[in-house]
Amino acid sequence: MIRKLYPFPTLSVFLLLMWLLLSGFSAGHLVLGMVLATVLPLGTLPFWPNVPRLRNFHKLVLFVLMVHWDIIVANLSVARRILGSPKKLRPAFVEVPLDIKDDFAITLLTSTVSLTPGTVSADISADASRMLVHALHVEDEAVLVEQIKQRYERRLKEIFEC
């Protein structure tokens, strides 16, 4: 019953929090937020691809914190490269084979890659088995691939167990 009413519990909680953040906390908004948190997931149910179940909530929190830290480090290194001579840059397109199969996890991985160290995800192959990454400056492609796989993909795999 409760499963039927709330097909995506995490999404519902998230929507309620968003609503309270947006309109301020009061009893009325709490009720309205709860109604929205129930109605919106039900209304959009047909559009959702298969969303993997979240297995490890505390690992997700750790992952988010780690990504934030990486974003700060990435920005410092990118800033240094932009201010330095563009001639010294060694850009490259790098292909990264993907182990995770789930659409949602791949989306998270590409977003993470785009936000962190000098890399932007440029494309995903049609069968979702490879990802194309453009790097601002890379000495050794194999090291970059290994870093993306070890640091982000492995963790996402643990979080969603897919």
Partner: protein
Amino acid sequence: MDIVIEYITAIFLLIGGVFALIGSLGLVRLPDFFLRLHGPTKATTLGVGGTIMASLVYFSWSEHTLHLHEILITLFLFISAPVSAHMLAKAAMHRELKYREDTRGKPWKQ
């Protein structure tokens, strides 16, 4: 206490401004489109994030309530920036834009 909050706000503002400037500098200086993509997606997002953090600290203190409103903008920018970068990169590959000759590897055919 006032002075501490003012300093924190000021530091966030300056960090934000400097990063946004570096992002735009990258947009102007770097030689090809794929390289230019790096500046705005990272530096500018962090720059705006810094400014918004400053506003959050300042209003939380001046109104004596936790003012988490602003976090929503940062959150949204962090979700949307990689997506628009990805879409623009795809568009650029589709149009077969030139990239610097010493770039290793090749973009995919679209």
